[in-house]
């Protein structure tokens, strides 16, 4: 698979480490969220067959985190964003 890095251009997916569903960005607030919310965050996944937004880390490159939109049935990648931009768009400060 070729991942089109927003800054570095087309890169082989072998340069990346895979983390999982991009919803992992939305970690509940440790001071207010309950046990159930953290359990759901840490362990449960939607795991769709089809379009999936997921976190890839460019370990053998610029060490940026990316949010890659990829189809889990065809492996086709339709969108690549910097995870930082995605998080900020959702109101995160960093």
């Amino acid at each position: 698979m070729i991942i089109h890095h927003p800054i570095l251009g087309p890169r082989d997916s072998q340069e990346f480490v895979y983390l999982g569903d991009a919803s992992l960005i939305d970690r509940p607030d440790g001071m207010t969220a309950g046990l159930e919310a953290f359990h759901d965050y840490a362990y449960n996944r939607t795991n769709p067959a089809g379009e999936h937004r997921e976190l890839w880390y460019h370990e053998q490159g610029d060490r940026s985190w990316l949010v890659v939109t990829r189809n889990t049935v065809t492996h086709e990648i339709t969108r690549v964003e910097l995870a930082r931009d995605v998080a900020r768009k959702q109101g995160r400060t960093k």
């Binding site: 698979m1 082989d12 997916s13 072998q14 895979y18 983390l19 999982g20 569903d21 046990l35 159930e36 359990h39 759901d40 840490a42 362990y43 449960n44 996944r45 939607t46 795991n47 769709p48 067959a49 999936h52 997921e54 990829r70 889990t72 049935v73 065809t74 492996h75």
Partner: protein, 416 residues
């Protein structure tokens, strides 16, 4: 029809005209007592044991494609019970004991071959870990043996014993481990279930579940609505898709695992060998092909095919261990979809919906578990409580901190 040596001879003398189809092709009834979703190894074993051991009747198995067309036909056929943790080892040892009596039990030749499995050791730390694992196995009634470097050399003199990075220093061996003809397992269970009146319904995909007041009433399928008092789901690989019909999100990601077989060779490996440090394991089929594999690709996938980097990685592992195979040609490679759970261990449990039961999360270890998985799931469906050896395989173990994490990787499915 009962199979026997006498039967084979009698048929040979009469032109093989007496063989009959091995199972019926029934149309679905309006309702059943128990519906099993998934006509793979685990689902068919569940139906078989429900009918044979737990006295249940009016059972149907619903299969989206054809019987045994999923992971039971895509694995590398290894059976073993060399686990470490208390939640796992009794279950897998129960499974291995069932394998040992399986062919007599269901009167079908599954070619169970206890040819032994070795896990290679390269360091003192690995030897300590293997000793501990071996002791855990023995404590749970399994067999384990620590082999020296010279004992391994006597078995496989052509291995690369002096690899600079991973020299072979010994191995942990389980002599009762081995291989089984994987398709025959599905066929044997299917035939055994059919003979006991179970309806095996193929080309019947579940498209929805009818749930009212927290209780399951039946399933919507491509062949119409079918009512049921109880529904058991055994569709590892597609668990998240099917359980979404009940509004559930599972502690599971679907990943692709590739496997490979070489052209046929003369006898080279008489047992099963794992080279964990090199992400490579291998056995030799009775036709002579080297059957081998390595890691999962590592990203969510439902594609049943993987990518080239993992093929390269597996080939490198094979070459590091067995330089002699350098010019062997690959016959074919394929991929199967694994339910990778959050601790690398399976789930056999009730759900929040009354009458709906779940069996899945087998990661890449489902084949060896087939008999015990079927038995324990049948036990749960029939008695409404877990079998003694499957008590730890609960949904709530993640909430309660009771994970069964053999590799200690945490909630990172692609590392298990």
């Amino acid at each position: 029809m009962r199979y026997s040596g006498f039967r084979v001879i009698a048929e040979a003398l009469t032109g093989h005209k007496g063989w009959k189809p091995v199972w019926r092709d029934p149309t679905p009834q309006a309702d059943y007592d128990i519906i099993i979703i998934g006509g793979g190894g685990h689902g068919l074993a569940t139906a078989y044991y429900l009918a044979k051991e737990f006295g249940q009747a009016r059972i149907a198995v619903l299969e989206k494609g054809y019987l045994g067309g999923g992971n039971v036909g895509r694995n590398t056929t290894i059976i073993r019970s060399n686990y470490l943790l208390d939640g796992n080892e009794p279950f897998y040892e129960f499974s291995l004991k069932l394998w040992e009596g399986l062919e007599q039990d269901f009167n079908y030749n599954a070619m169970v071959s206890q040819r032994g499995i070795i896990n290679l050791i390269h360091t003192d730390a690995q030897r300590d870990a293997a000793t501990r694992r071996g002791n855990a196995m023995i404590l749970n009634g399994a067999d384990a043996e620590l082999l020296t470097r010279e004992q391994v050399r006597a078995m496989y003199p052509w291995l690369n014993f002096d690899n600079a990075r991973f020299p072979i220093k010994g191995a942990l061996m389980q002599r009762r481990g081995g291989t089984v003809r994987h398709d025959a397992v599905a066929w044997g269970y299917a035939r055994g279930a059919d003979l006991r009146g179970v309806d095996l319904i193929q080309n019947c995909e579940v498209t929805g579940m009818r749930i009212e007041n927290g209780r399951i009433l039946g399933v919507e399928t491509t062949r119409g609505y079918i009512g049921a008092k109880k529904v058991g789901v055994a569709v590892a690989g597609s668990s998240s898709k099917v359980m979404a019909h009940a509004g559930m999100r599972l502690p599971i990601e679907s990943h692709v695992l590739q496997a490979f077989v070489s052209e046929g060779l003369k006898p080279l490996i008489d047992g099963v060998m794992t080279f964990g440090a090199g992400h490579f394991y291998v056995s030799q089929s009775d036709k002579g092909g080297l059957v081998f594999g390595g890691d999962i690709d590592g990203y969510n996938s439902y594609a049943q095919r993987g990518n080239l980097p993992v093929i390269e990685d597996v080939a490198e592992g094979g070459m590091a261990l067995m330089p002699a195979i350098g010019r062997v040609r690959l016959l074919r490679s394929w991929g199967g979809i694994m339910d990778m759970s959050m601790d690398g261990s399976p789930i056999i449990d009730k759900t929040h919906v009354e009458g709906l039961y779940f069996n899945g999360g087998w990661c890449y270890g489902g084949f060896k578990a087939t008999p015990a998985s079927g038995w324990c799931f049948a036990h749960l469906l029939a008695n409404d409580r877990s079998h003694e050896t499957a008590k730890a395989y609960r949904f709530d173990r993640f909430l309660k901190g009771l994970m069964i994490d053999e590799k200690g990787q945490g909630a990172q499915p692609n590392l298990h």
